[in-house]
């Protein structure tokens, strides 16, 4: 069975500071990893994904994520946070054997204060 853990319900950072939103995963094979963002009263939007190749993945709005196989982690990062980055962030995983099903973490609310 595949699973995702987002250990922090809430992350608070000041505008201009770097941010990290944590995600760890468990799958039986090679993982496909995704980050999605949800703004209030909206559907989820894709940010970035890791399939294979470079461990550092760059995505939309200046976000990046680092795949770490030994730590089974896929943390989301941004060098300089904006107030407009405040939203709910979801990590998701699929494994190749279960290609139709994405399992989502419980979400992390990011608040960026001016």
């Amino acid at each position: 069975a595949q699973s995702v853990a987002q250990p922090e319900d809430q992350v608070n950072v000041a505008e201009g500071n770097p941010l990290t939103v944590k995600c760890t995963y468990s799958v039986s094979g090679n993982p496909y990893l995704f980050w999605y963002v949800q703004y209030p009263n909206r559907g989820l939007q894709f940010l970035l994904k890791y399939i294979t190749g470079d461990n550092l993945v760059k995505g939309s709005y200046g976000f990046e994520a680092e795949f770490n196989k030994s730590q089974t982690s896929f943390h989301l990062k941004k060098p300089s946070a904006l107030v407009s980055d405040s939203a709910l962030y979801f990590c998701a995983v699929r494994d190749k054997a279960n290609a139709g099903k994405s399992t989502f973490g419980d979400g992390t609310t990011l608040t960026v204060k001016p």
Binding site: Q38, R42, G43, G100, F104
Partner: protein, 116 residues
């Protein structure tokens, strides 16, 4: 032009009623999904259809019945609504390719169901 559109956006109804939520995608995707987001914002998959065929059916009460008349549409019908069915229901779609696990989900804006 909305890629994944759901109707209605808001639905308020009484316990015991039957209601439907419709979803349409114009992306040419082969696979469509229903997800439920509860009051704590947790997101759980309910169903997935690939080209009108059911491929994922999670542990969902049989009061919930998905229907896919064609690959661009996936509707959700709920019988005998209960208080616990109150949630936001999201439709999503993705393309079917040889490496379908890598495909991104495109979500609709959600349908907020409130059962009184």
């Amino acid at each position: 032009d909305t890629a994944v559109s759901q109707t209605p956006k808001y639905l308020v109804t009484q316990m015991g009623n039957d209601k439907s939520i419709k979803c349409e995608q114009n992306l040419g995707h082969d696979t469509m999904y229903w997800y439920k987001q509860d009051s704590k914002k947790f997101l759980k998959i309910m169903f997935s259809y690939n080209n009108k065929e059911l491929i994922i059916n999670e542990t969902v009460p049989n009061r919930f019945s998905p229907k896919s008349p064609d690959k661009a549409h996936l509707n959700l019908h709920i019988n005998s609504l209960e208080l616990g069915d109150s949630a936001v229901y999201f439709c999503a779609s993705s393309a079917l390719t040889a490496n379908s696990g890598a495909n991104v989900l495109t979500f609709g804006a959600g349908s907020r169901l409130t059962v009184l």
